[in-house]
Symmetry: D2
Subunit: 262 residues, 4 copies
């Protein structure tokens, strides 16, 4: 299907502020970018590079005063996500080299602390996809969803202690639990059709049966279309909107997702 | 300044034909992509990856029958190219690791065959930028320019023997001569403002004084704006339009470059 | 100078256990590996790849029963470490792309939590090298050193709360404080001449004045030679000795560092 | 089995001469390096990096006067090479992204010139492994083997015209013919057990049936053990021994391969 997604960020900085952003989606096997735009107002010098996870990262210095970033993309994606019940666990020694990094603990996914919880969440499941699906359901059942976005991420153990969180927190807990079982898992940030209230969204992917599958512990029943902005080990690796220096809260952040054609 | 560039390719394949394309420009330190589109008609599955030179490469199978690819981009670039007369030669042992690959001979730049010519073309010049500038002028003076494009590239020694060629051939000879002097050089393919007749264009970059500088042996006096599509060691590394299987000649290939604002 | 370093690990696994190791040092600008060996006993199939930080990573499955890994290297390194008092802070917008990842918070370096402490630790210093040197001294003064090694790393905020730690913890706190000031910093694991008691050692590097400088908050006065095994964002990125499945504590881990010639 | 391989190069430079070398074998899925050494005499500063093909490349400046490089490695490898008769051709659109670069023409493998020859050499074969095996036999039958090494490589079309060549030339022709059939192929340089006269050796790998298989058109019947030093698109990508500036011919180059255990 064909979606149009957009992200508008307005801010007012009291001094020039360096930004690192990941707001330009890339074409890959999941999605084809038919057209996209990235408009800075006022226009300031900006550059772009690809990080170690394959994300296009934009660098710029927001000037003093009013500044806005508006990105927009028309994207062809599959409807919904693939499922793979029964797909087997891949033993660590058989994982591709490039996948191993997603087994290690990371800033917000302290998988080295959650082994017992992961066993409980995935009890009585076939090893592999079914374990991850059970973890995703368990996270969904265990956490209360906070619709308002929270600027300060916390790590998975703290998410669990709080018993509530935003989509990013749900994803972090899911990822950490998978890694505790030696299942590679990574963060995905992007757009989700019909999200309510509309915002950027976060979910996760796990590597079972020889490929990556998507899981969304915030909305496990949902089979809506998704546009991916960035992937990484967790939110710390995916600086969708990152500032250096005195923090500036955007005065406006408006996300849209619109279906253009099925 | 702000340019709009476009490329339209129409073809008719007698059988499904795999393509590898490099037609989506990337933002980097040279240029900022404000908006771009990549439209396939009919829409077929397509994917994209980044190659070892940092180019975004598109993969698709053109269907039997009429097929078109139309790309378009609005780009902010500097006017003209930097010059660096007097910038010194960088000894091989001081070159960055990532630059060394551009010293080695490649498919169309057999620098291992052109040492004597390179000495002649750069005689009496200060080592470094001035040598490359002399090579660029020498190539321009030595070769007759063929405006029609030629689908079959030939190597630099053959270009020299023929005494004529298209922009790509001029670039290959320039690159091969630089490498003969142990100056790293690489191919650039993109758009050039006011090219006559309008087409995709090829020029080259050489590494002197600690950075890459652009040189255009086809149009050495020109100080027009350029949009970069791809870089590589030579045309073989830069498959802007590459087919596998029985070759299909595009029935139409139309390039435009338009100044939107200075 | 010329050092010989070695690492012997003995273990007994109750079941075959997948390992990920980073025990083979690489030649680079810091060190030249004259000879090295990596002996498994019994010999089992093993493979190696390079991770995203440039480390050579070894993969193998330790068999049930007694197993040992013995690595040894003869290495030429500079004596001591370079210092750069007065080297300036590099503003975020001027950092090389590849360095930015070392600004982001990571598993054990939650730089997003330590801004105020970093200001205190580096108060009244010139921006850049001198700030990092002050942080290194501050960490040294603030933490009590625990010579025994601790298998379970904790994050920098917890290190600070405990007021004590092993060399890895000292490094984590130093790194986190640097990143809080927008100074890129990364973990280094390796061998240190004359360490007492001898063990693998951890320190850190910070990027100021356009290059990386080494700092050792555990032993700030020391100007001994160092052999580097691995670099990364923190200990989670540097799986010098990493197991998957039920943990197996080595029954013996013996490290040696010997000066062969000055 | 367990082999010891060594390479000794002696030279006398009239002036300091920059070298780029690929003489340190790496552990990977094919081979495990148990121990290796890389001795420069006199010892000069040297550094190492990994190129885009995964080879460890050494950089150094050979001083004026006598200089030697001696490398040695003890390596565990499989005996012989895998064969895969019947393994199918992988259509271009199904190839992994990273493999595509080995379809493009390169300095010494001008696959864009050899389509008709490739059809002849592989006539009546099942698509895939069997085509490559036929090409390897065809090259072997068609070319006369020159045991003495030739410092100046020539391209595949020239090899074919000459009707003779060294192992590198056999490999180049095999690679070019494979790529003409849209089968990815790459150069391998290394050591071959029982080669007569002993020297470094070159062969090639082709990607069929979802993996790389080795082929040796110089010695097609041989099922001896091999140690890999480097891989690339052709000899231009694999600068096993590369000088910049006035060429210096080694006064001695001695290669050994010895079986330590079966």
């Amino acid at each position: 299907m064909r979606l149009e997604v957009s992200c508008l960020i307005r801010m007012a900085c009291s001094q020039p502020t360096a930004h690192l952003l990941v707001l330009r989606p890339r074409s890959d096997v999941h999605q084809w970018i038919v057209r996209e735009s990235y408009v800075l107002s006022p226009q300031v010098p900006a550059t772009e590079y690809m990080d170690g996870f394959g994300n296009l990262c934009q660098r710029l210095v927001a000037p003093s005063g009013a500044f806005s970033i508006e990105t927009r993309a028309e994207v062809i994606v599959a409807t919904g996500v693939d499922t793979g019940y029964g797909e087997p666990y891949v033993p660590v020694e058989s994982l591709p080299d490039a996948v191993l990094v997603y087994l290690l603990p990371s800033r917000f996914c302290e998988s080295d602390r959650l082994g017992a919880v992961a066993m409980e969440a995935s009890a009585n499941q076939r090893l592999g996809y079914d374990q991850v699906a059970a973890i995703s359901r368990w996270v969904h059942a265990r956490l209360r969803y906070l619709p308002e976005s929270d600027p300060m991420p916390v790590a998975a153990t703290e998410v669990l202690a709080r018993g509530e969180g935003v989509c990013r927190d749900f994803a972090h807990l899911g990822i950490a639990l998978c890694r505790s079982l030696s299942i590679p898992a990574r963060m995905v940030v992007g757009y989700l059709q019909d999200l309510e209230p509309m915002d950027l969204h976060a979910w996760f992917e796990a590597f079972v049966g020889g490929r990556w599958y998507a899981f969304d512990p915030t909305r496990p029943q949902d089979n809506k279309a998704r546009v991916i902005l960035a992937r990484g080990r967790d939110a710390a690796d995916v600086p969708v909107f990152n500032q250096f220096g005195p923090p500036v809260t955007p005065s406006e952040m408006r996300i849209t997702v619109q279906v253009l054609a099925d």
